[in-house]
Symmetry: C2
Subunit: 447 residues, 2 copies
């Protein structure tokens, strides 16, 4: 998945060379996009800890964060062992944060609709306020005018990502700037979409490794919306906590399945081309150059049905081993599946309708997207069935060349289909990252 | 709050001397209760890291966990910096885990009702299954017969706590064993209780620092319930992630307020007496000796109203500074409030109806309880208002001498009342911890 440290450039920046918390002084290396610096910083942090014999004083971090065993003033040593709180991601950069940034432990997704009275100018003012808040909170400066919920916590790899939905453009008189990539998705037979939880004029994706930091950002951004926009829908998601596994691994979803093995890697030759839009040409407006498109779907998992299968039955549906994500044709998670391999019984080891087969790019004319999902669990219904599943978030240069062909194929013949239900759908245009002094979407709104 | 490292004995055990993951070999120091060993283990872990120059190999931890900068086999250093995944808590001990264990980042609360056909024997079998599962998962052995969701994650300080509600006893023919402490709570004028989310025959509290580990436990325990019991209600909660703050601090709630400052401390002379029941005497059955009672309430916060107040107005309601939790009469969070101190205007610095004044033990005949709350956020309603607040969990030797007198006083005159709404309520008898070979509640069910 996107959060895999296989994309080492997209690791969050560690505090050692990132913004001091609470200062708001803008020391967040504005020229460095969110995709830069992480691994080096982390390595440096570790190196320093080693050189000083484990204890890294607050002064060394500039932010009051005690890392790797520093002692509390009362002599106890319950001090945090991690840089979790101190890790920060830069708001400014070529790309918005939250696309190739490793997925955090918590997310909030929120769609807003503009108020009837809000015009293009009001929308521009809102994006300006939002960008200022995101810039401030991501640097760890959640101080006086915030809710107070994040006081004394570090930025905890907070990212805030802004997008524009299809309906935004007509409401602001910007139809001429609407990209063709936002054209509505086709209907899929497996869709059970709730319009109240679908679409929306504006989208905000919030991620952080601390739940209170994420909630503080959610509430502060909602307050910023004021009378200009109101919440259309809101969803909460989660992923594994950093450090919960022995080593970085592709995450698991609530079916217990390793999820995201086939994600494009930053080292791929066509990574940029697949993920990020270019301007020019018909209905490819210049303001989206360097941006990306997010397909966002709430995919309910029918977990009681799924858990009723035996493990071999589950593995047949997916085409991979549950334990380690290796293809049923053998090897490890990253081994290329042998799609033609047959077992002793003469049957294909990876079934014709196995999810891993059908979702492969080479089975879909090369269509690929970067999946950066979160799990959700919104309690139980009256029958004791969990309302749980996947907040599917997929990034690509054009959903009609990424998500759509893959989903069309899955819709026809994926063995997994009977265990999931697509309950909402939205597509958002997520422009390039803001430069110093800019706000996100400025090129669209003032262009 | 309960999770404060001020109770250093209750820190989770670090992997260095805890159970190896995935082995299920029971190396979890059965004589050591969940309240033991944490600080020493953690200190030892840090000490070792120092001695070896930061890198602690997997062999040193016995569980395959790489801590503090060990390198991945491919040479990248995205390995976890923390022992978060490897930390484990012992299931066996004088007390059940999850009472004085530091509150984890994630919790699930679930109430079950017994099926009509389930008798005392079926309930005993269920508690036996549940205890076996809790023992296994808490040791990090979430392997083949689980959902797979937690595969390759460590136990992540998982705790599972079992309790019995008032209705359990009549359904199992055990009325004679029902403690007086389970007598229904009085009505409070501020209650808006939903019976569907209140009470229940059985209660399971699950906590872990990783969301997938917690969800795996929830689903596995639900599966164990089989036809014997069904989910009555279920709630999800969260707290700060370990390492998100600069140093261990009392947590904050979603009002942004430091929450739990006045919790009893393990060093208090009467800590044990206030928290843990003794057997003998009228309606104090022996099986609850060493156990504790949990009052569980879903307290909705009216956050839009609260956030509409200025910071000084909020501080007046609470009687403490938002920034650091210090009483308005001065000092730091732990300074004793001067309840009689007046300002220049001749008014009490801590208002007569301030929450911090009214909830104080010395204002309530010494009534005290150990609060170990989690925050909740179940999305937004149609008006863009968050369904969020506090999963209030308070522990005491007898709710009628702990929660009730405090809540009576708050109900009459707490300035905070208009910003909160009690939406559900339950009380559970939580017996002592299981010994080796025992299951929780065995003394009740087979006594």
């Amino acid at each position: 998945m996107a959060g895999s440290p296989r994309n080492p450039d997209s690791a969050p920046k560690a505090a050692a060379d990132a913004a001091p918390s609470g200062s708001g002084s803008g020391a967040s290396a504005p020229d460095e996009g969110p995709a830069r610096g992480g691994t080096i910083s982390r390595r440096r942090l570790i190196g320093t800890a080693g050189a000083t014999g484990v204890v890294l004083g607050a002064a060394g971090l500039g932010a009051g964060y005690a890392v790797a065993g520093a002692r509390d003033s009362d002599g106890s040593d319950g001090a945090p062992l991690t840089s979790l709180g101190a890790d920060s991601v830069s708001f400014e950069g070529a790309r918005q944060p939250g696309i190739i940034t490793p997925a955090q432990a918590h997310c909030h997704l929120v769609a807003f609709d503009l108020a009837a009275s809000a015009d293009r100018r009001a929308a521009a003012a809102l994006l300006r306020r939002w960008s200022a808040t995101a810039r401030r909170l991501m640097a760890g400066a959640g101080t006086d005018d915030s809710t107070g919920i994040a006081l004394d916590a570090g930025p905890s790899s907070l990212t805030v990502t802004f997008g524009f939905g299809h309906s935004f453009f007509a409401r602001t008189g910007l139809e001429g700037q609407r990209p063709g990539a936002l054209d509505p998705l086709p209907d899929f037979s497996s869709d059970h979409l709730d319009p109240k939880r679908s679409n929306g004029d504006l989208w905000v994706q919030i991620g952080a490794d601390d739940a209170l930091v994420a909630f503080d950002a959610l509430r502060t951004l909602q307050r910023d919306a004021g009378g200009t926009a109101r919440v259309r829908w809101q969803m909460n998601g989660f992923n594994r906590s950093p450090g919960a596994t022995a080593r970085p691994m592709t995450t698991r979803n609530l079916m217990g399945q390793v999820d995201g093995t086939n994600n494009p890697q930053e080292s791929d030759e066509d990574f940029r081309e697949r993920l990020f839009a270019t301007g020019g040409g018909t209905r490819r407006p210049a303001w989206m150059s360097g941006g990306s498109y997010a397909v966002v779907r709430r995919i309910r998992m029918l977990l009681d049905d799924w858990d009723g299968l035996s493990r071999p039955e589950q593995e047949r549906v997916i085409g991979r081993r549950k334990k380690d994500g290796a293809p049923l044709s053998g090897g490890s998670e990253t081994t290329e599946p042998k799609l033609d391999a047959v077992g002793k019984d003469g049957k294909l080891l990876i079934a014709p309708d196995a999810h891993a087969r059908i979702s492969r790019p080479d089975q879909n004319g090369g269509a690929a997207m970067l999946r950066r999902p979160f799990s959700f669990h919104d309690g139980y219904d009256a029958d004791g069935v969990p309302d749980a599943g996947l907040l599917f978030i997929a990034w690509q240069a054009d959903p009609h060349r990424g998500f759509v062909p893959v989903q069309r194929k899955l819709d026809r013949g994926d063995a997994l289909s009977k265990f999931i239900r697509h309950e909402s759908s939205a597509v958002f245009a997520v422009p390039r990252g803001a430069r110093k002094g800019e706000y996100v979407g400025q090129e669209l709104l003032e262009g």
